[in-house]
Structure formats: C-alpha cells, structure tokens
Point group: C2
Chain length 536, copies 2
C-alpha cells in the first residue's frame, strides 16, 4: 500500500493542510516518509457528523453483520502482516517477533468480539412477564437489553502500535457494541496507523457498513484530541496513555454540556509481593521471571512491575544478587521516543535523589546520539524510606524497578494499603502462605483490577474473565476493563420496553427468544438455545 500522509474520513481522505510532520525512526533519528498532515477542526467535525449518521444505521446491523466486519478487518491485517510489522518496526524500534505476536493478538481480539456478539450473552437481555390481575395495580410487561452509546473516540497508545491502536481492543469492542469509531492516531507510529486504517476503511466498504463507521485522524492530542472529546456527536472515549493525557480528557469530558464517559487506561507500578516461603523455594526463578517482565519491550508496558516488596533476609539477598546481575547484563534498548527516554532517565534520577535509595545497576554507558537508548535500572530501598516519599510510588515508564525491603509483615500490609489504584498486583507465595495472607489479598482487592499468583503481570490474556482495569489513577474508571470481552460493556447502556407487542420488540426480547440468547426471565437466568446460531 502507498502511504499518503492524510487523515481518513469516512470512505475518503482529508485534504492536505498546513506544514506536514515526518515520523521519526527512534533507532536512527531519521525522518520517515511520508510526512503527515494534521487534521483540523473542520476535519474533526466532518468525521464526527459522519460517525453520527453512520451510527444511526450501523447500530441496527444484525450482530452477525458486525461480526463479519470485525473478521474481515482481522483477515485484512493478517494478509498485510509483514508490511505492517515492517513499518511498525521502523516507527517504534520494537522487534519484529514482538510485532508479529502483537498482530496475532490484534486479530484474536477482533475475532473474540465477533464470536461474543454472535453468541449474544453480553446484551443483558431481561424479560419480566405481566400480571394483569395484580393488586392494587396490574403488573406491566417489561423487557430490556443493552444498546450502543453512539460514536466513540479512540486514542491510540504509543507502546502497542497494533493491539491498543487503530484496530485495537477499544476499536474492536466499540464496533462490536454497534458504535462507530473515530481513532486519533498516535503520532509516534503514523505510517502503521495509516496502513491499518486503510484496511479498516476497505473492510467497511466491503461489508457495506455505512460511510463514517470508521475514521482516522492525525493530529495533536491537545488540539484535535480535545476537539474530538468536546464534540457533541461523540458519546464515549477510549484512551491508553499517560496519566496527564488521560486526566486532561476526563476533565474535558466532564465539563461538556453533556458529560460523557472516558475509559482511560493510564498505567501503574504493578507491585509484586514476595513472601518468605516463595523466596526460600524459588528466589532465582522469581528473579529471572521479574527480570524478563521488567525489561520486556524496554519496560514499555503498563503492566511492567515497577515495585517489588520483599522481606529482609538471606533469601532476599540471594534474590537481589541474581536480579541485579541479570539487570546489569541486560543489553540497552531503544525506547519509543527520545521524550519517553528522557522522562525515563529523569524518573530514575528523581528516585536516586532520595536519601536511602540505591542503584544496583550501572547507568547507561553506551553512546546515544538519538537520545532513545535506555539501560535497565534496579533500585533498592527500605519500607521506611518508601512510605515517606510519594515520588517512589509514581510510575517510571521504562525498564526499571524498585525493590523495597520490609523488616516485618506489617510493613508489607501498610504498603499495600498506601499505594494508589493499580492495574495489577502479584503475590509470590507457597499455596499455604497465600491462604494465610488473606489480609494482604483483601487489601489488594481494593486497589487493583487483577491479582496474579506466582506469575508476572506482563502478558495480559485476551479472554472473557480478564480485567485490565483498576481503581484510579490506574484507569479513569475502575468499573471497566480495556482487555477481554467485558470491555464491550463500556459502550452499552440499557433501554427498556414496556407493554410492547411482541412483533414490535427487538428480536433479543421477543417472547420466543429467536436469537437463543441468555436472558434473565422473571428473575431467573435462562440459557436460550444451548447452541444458538449466529445472531441475526
């Protein structure tokens, strides 16, 4: 495919305007072709108007037709996999095998949402039968299910150029819900975004979805991003990125005449609690696993474990020795941008300025003309120092982690209660220790979206039970997840029909349950047909 450097609006492109911007190869610092023209407010308005008009038709598409669109997008991405991965590699410096795996994940997500809406147990269909004889007033017939909110603005992440970007989880779940989508591309991988965007544009055409079901805008978050979130036709927002960026969108959305939900996933420090029995049995294996998890993708994961809590003692000494060796021997990596890399160095330095924080790994020694190269960093301190410095509780985005040594169990618990909301917390323990650590598990349940036992937080499984969310500031809204099929609920709301004739009801609510859906009937779950056909 030939890249044009223009936003995609409906079936066409935006006109070239203003001074175009070149994407930068973070490994070499060279400018990549083509240059990209920023969208302007007129483009935002056109995309939003089209998205609203398209929504009115697209939401009424049978689930089977929306599933076909999702599958077609996946097929197209697979067919153009090598081209997409090559471009993403140039724009992000992420290695090709990682980008291949991310392509597979992206297509799996699209197909999982396709099968979800075909099965249809996600629509929360409910039927309450009438009772005309009830005293003092007759009981009406009441039925309800979930319908889509409207056009959704999706803000791509920098660190997942595919799985959390143009055709990523937010787009997949919004389209599955019946919403139309406007993606604000991330400026760090504009070519990758255009490639994937063109494939979605083509799939929309092929599946005869209305023009405006999908648009893709290039531009600055502070300008067209804010304009998108403020546009009256936009009814929800998905975002993956920094806390500052996410909060700015939350504030803009809350200040609208009609406030709208913002689902911002803003990352966290993902604490790992090491209990004595586990360290005794597996100090080396835990060190190796954590090393892999901290340095994976140059630490550029929102689930990167940035905080490790361990009891003082010989097993922890052994663990620390092993981990510091592995961290010190880690080859330096190229981060996504020089800005992120500078922020990484500044974050590590800020921690080191605190008396009582030591660094166990050497600083970057290699020449770094582009300013994107990061060395893995292992810091260590005590629970007292940690609890006295909020700086140490903040995320440092990159391949670093801080080990906090606790002299007793109460410090561990105190830290669990003091930390902010997190995407994940991990406990390494023997099964017996875990059962005895109920207080720790209960404290962490109030802080996180996902609890991991004897594993590592990176690698978020795309499945039905996954929760990739958590209390603020890990996300804007701990009631939601951005990974897994529960993500569709972010873009749905209930609507209820009272005393409607059967023929006038949506199929999902008709008496004979023609779609074979799971429903709550008079307060009892009913499965529908066990193997219901493709809905619609």
């Amino acid at each position: 495919m030939k890249l044009e450097g223009l936003s995609l609006i409906g079936h066409g492109t935006a006109r070239p305007k203003g001074e175009p911007m070149h994407p930068i190869n973070p490994a070499t610092g060279e400018a990549l072709e083509p240059a990209y023209h920023w969208a302007d407010l007129e483009d935002v308005d056109r995309a939003a108007q089209l998205a609203w008009q398209a929504f009115r038709r697209f939401r009424l598409f049978p689930a089977g037709a929306r599933a076909r669109l999702l599958r077609r997008i996946a097929e197209q991405i697979e067919a153009h996999g090598p081209e997409i991965q090559q471009r993403a590699h140039l724009e992000t410096a992420l290695p090709l095998p990682r980008l291949q795996a991310e392509t597979a994940r992206t297509c799996h997500q699209l197909r999982l949402f396709a099968s979800l809406i075909e099965q249809g147990w996600c629509w929360d269909a409910r039927v309450d039968h009438p009772d005309p004889a009830r005293q003092p007033v007759p009981k009406p017939d009441v039925r309800s299910h979930l319908i889509p909110l409207g056009p959704v603005a999706v803000f791509s992440s920098s660190n997942f150029p595919l799985a959390f970007s143009v055709a990523g989880g937010d787009t997949a779940s919004a389209l599955a819900a019946g919403c139309t989508v406007i993606v604000k591309a991330h400026q760090n991988h504009m070519g990758t975004s255009e490639l994937v965007g063109r494939l979605i544009q083509q799939a929309v055409r092929e599946c005869e979805a209305p023009e405006g079901t999908f648009s893709l805008l290039f531009g600055r978050g502070t300008e067209i991003g804010q304009a998108l979130v403020r546009h009256p036709m936009i009814k929800a927002v998905g975002f993956t990125g920094s806390r500052k960026g996410g909060r700015a969108l939350m504030d803009a959305a809350a200040a609208r005449p009609e406030p709208i939900p913002v689902y911002a996933e803003m990352g966290s420090i993902n604490p790992v609690f090491l209990l004595p029995g586990a360290l005794r049995e597996r100090a080396d294996a835990i060190a190796s696993g954590l090393h892999g998890s901290v340095t994976l993708g140059v630490g550029q994961f929102c689930t990167c474990p940035g905080l490790i809590l361990a009891p003082t003692g010989p097993d922890t000494d052994r663990f620390l020795e092993k981990l510091s060796q592995q961290m010190a021997n880690t080859p330096t990596g190229v981060m996504l941008t020089s800005e992120l890399c500078a922020a990484y160095h500044a974050g590590v330095e800020a921690c080191l300025k605190i008396p009582g924080v030591r660094r166990l790994t050497p600083p970057l020694a290699q020449a770094d003309p582009v300013g994107t190269r990061a060395a893995a960093a292992l810091l260590v301190t005590t629970a007292e120092v940690f609890l006295a410095h909020e700086t140490l509780m903040e995320e440092v985005f990159g391949p670093s982690t801080l080990v906090v040594l606790c002299t007793d169990r109460s410090q561990l618990l105190e830290i669990a209660e003091r930390i902010e909301g997190q995407l994940t917390a991990t406990i390494h323990a023997t099964p017996e220790e875990l059962l005895e650590a109920r207080d720790l598990v209960q404290a962490l349940e109030l802080k996180v979206g996902r609890l991991v036992f004897n594993g590592f937080p990176t690698g978020v499984e795309v499945c039905h039970a996954m929760v990739h969310g958590g209390p603020y500031p890990a996300t804007s809204d701990g009631r939601s997840t951005s990974v897994g099929t529960r993500a569709i609920l972010r873009f749905l709301r209930p609507v209820c029909y009272q005393n409607f004739p059967d023929a006038a009801l949506p199929e999902a609510l008709q008496e004979k349950n023609p779609l074979g859906l799971l429903r709550i009937v008079d307060g009892r779950p009913e499965l529908g047909r066990p193997d219901n056909p493709v809905a619609g």
Copy 2:
C-alpha cells in the same frame, strides 16, 4: 419512637450544634417538632471514616447475611408503617394511601435486592480455564467477578420520602452490593428520615453489621453534601433531585483528585406521542389516563408526562376538549414546599410568555396563604413554536403539561430528535401503527431509558428488567438505572484472579461453583445449580 433532631452516625448520634431548623408542614405552614441540628464537617468526616472501616468488613459478609439485613430493615419499616406514614404526611402533604403504597414499594425493593444477591446471577462471575500446552505461551487460569466500590453517599429525594430516600432504592442496592451507606437526608422530611434511619440503625445492630454500615446526616446539600462527595473515603454517589443539584455533585465528583461515579436522576419531560389511529379509537381514554398521570401526586413525579405530541385534526380536538375539562376540574393540590410551588408557577408563566402558547385551564383562584397550592395547567402550542423555543423543552416540576400540535409526521420525528435525554417516552398507537412507526421508535431509543406503549410513564415497576435512567440530562449516566435490580451494577467493579489455587479463590469463582451461580465458563454461560441455595 421519639425524634431527637440529630444526625445518626454509626451506632450513635451527632452532638447538637448550631441553630436548629424546624421542618415545615406544607399544608399549614406550621413548624413541626423537633428542630433539627445540622451536621458539620467533623460529622461528615466521622461518618465517612466509620463507613470506610465498616466497608472493609461488610463487603466480606456472605450475601445471605447482607440479605438478612435488607429483610430486617423491611420488617422494621412495616412494623412502624403507620407512624412513619403519619409523619411523612405532615411533612410532605402527600395523602396517606399514597404513603402506604410507597411504604410497600420501599419494602418490596429491599426484599427484591435481598433475593437478588441470594441468587447471585448479578455478580458476572467468569471462569477461563488454563491451557498449559498453548503456544507460544501457556494460557493462564483467569477468573473474575464483581466486588463493591466502597462507601456510597446517597442524597434523598424530596418527592419520594420513602422509596427514594433513607431506605430507598439507592440504599438498598448499595447495601446489597456490599457497600456501606451515608444518607444525606432531604430537609423537607427530616422527621420521616430520622424514623427510618433509626430503624436501619437498629437493624444494623441486630444483624451485627459493623458500626458505620449506615449513617444519616442532616444538613444543607451545598455544604455537607459537597463535603460528602469530596471526601476521599466516599467512592460513589446516588442522587435524586434537580438538574442543578445533580450537576453540582457531578462537577464536584469529577474535580476530585480521585474522580468517582455520580448516579444522579434529575428528571425529564417524558414526551407522549399520540398517533392518529390511537386517537381515533381511544381519544377519551387517553385523555383520562394522561390527566391521571399528569396530576398524580400534584405532578411531583420525575416521570410526569410534561409534553404531549398530537396530530392536528378532529380526534385531537376531542382529546383536547376532554383533557382540558378534566384538568380544569382537578382540585388544587399542596406541593412539597413553597419554593417548589413558586418554581412551578414561574415555569408555567415562562411558557405562557412565549407568543403562540395558550393555557386551556384557569389559573389558581383559591386563597393560598402558605404558598404551596398548585392548580393543574394544560398548555397548548404548535410544533413550529415548540421547536423555536428551548424554554418549552425544559421540565416544569408540577401538575402541568404542554400539548404540541403537529401538522405532519415529520414534525413528530423532528421533535423526537430535538428533545434532550429523557427517562421515558410513551407512544399511543394501534399495534399496526407502532410497527409502521419504526423510525419514531428508533429515534426515541437514542433519547430515553424506557419506552412505554399505550400506557403512562408514572408508576415505575420495581423489577429486573426496569430501566429508570436515560441519557443526560435525565440522569448523569445513561449507562445505569436507579430502579430495578440492574441498579446494583452501579456500585460494583470487576476484579480478576490469575492462577490462584482453588482454595484461595472467592467461593463465587471456585471450580465446583459451590454457590451455584450463573457463570460464563470459557465463553459459555452455565446456569450453576438451577435452584441454588441462599448464597453463603
């Protein structure tokens, strides 16, 4: 029970402070005993700290124990029904039969949530089994369900002193979810609030729920209400009242360092669409039904139908004649407060200032020394005038309605698309007309929480499928409902367990499904035991 005029904090009362305020009997203007002392910021903090401490234990109570608390509250309210109703009658001027029905509704709500959590299909329990052999990485065991958010601040309504107040739907659904509750009593029915609050306090003690599971504060919304919403220990807000009051809480909650969800139900004009066939067949019956619905409770319902759309023609003339007769013959009623009554008169006058709006009913003739007496008002205008004046699209809280005459069907549709978000919309039509009016139904689905066919919007059935919600500004959050069992979802969020040993999992997620819950297992719904026992 003897009223003391003090806020209830945990198992005790707040100390008397400041100048106490007497509730006013709106029918006579007389001050009622006792006077009430306002809570101060210290009381708010104490209640919130207690609520947080209590939450940590209460959320872990088995569902069966929480259900017993809800049922005990219902029993207590029934046992003291006449005393509560008598006091509510003095404070609100609502007739005793209405207050008896509202008591029954309140107790039904409490029991419905008790049986809901005993059955447990509301916890969205999900299990994804592992696959250790999967390539390139093993698939983990992932399980998740919903847990409560934390302490909830509930703001009572003025118009439902029982069902949307101290032991109302917000309190019932929050306690069922496992949240603890602080109610901000409405100043218009403080004695009723204290009576019900004391019964809840007693039930909390009897059921051995932790102190702080429930508190009740008297005070001004602008002061202690704002302080409650800003308190870091409060994690969600339920509110029923005016748009101005609800928006103020939404803004305060969104501006917190940790933003929290606000579920504000702010009322609407509940449009009623009359199609020609229905008018031809039932003009008189529709007029009578609408008269009853508009004037019920002196029009003080958030589902009061304040807008009626009808085609010009002889059937509508007949309908209007009948409706205007009935409205004119309606005895005047006493509104809840002189402020609400003044706002009602001002609202009607503002409409009448618009050229082309006529009043078909006489203004209030009766002497009204207290300033709480309202006469029913029927206004009429054309679609052109309506569409040109946003004032006519705003709620007038009280026994008035505006009939808008449409010369053709496109005006009906245009109005359906122009109105703001609504709790309800109603269509009167023949079944054939309804099928042909798909475009109208589809336009209204995007505007409302509930569509009523050939009925009237007042009388919100408390059941599983009910949606008492709708897009902003009907509510703060169209994804939710404040009536029906779906209301529990407002106070829950998902948490996920990865690779946990079975014994360390919450019972809801253990492999053998000991609670017999509906679960999604590997993407397929499973009923659990068809007649699962009382959970826990």
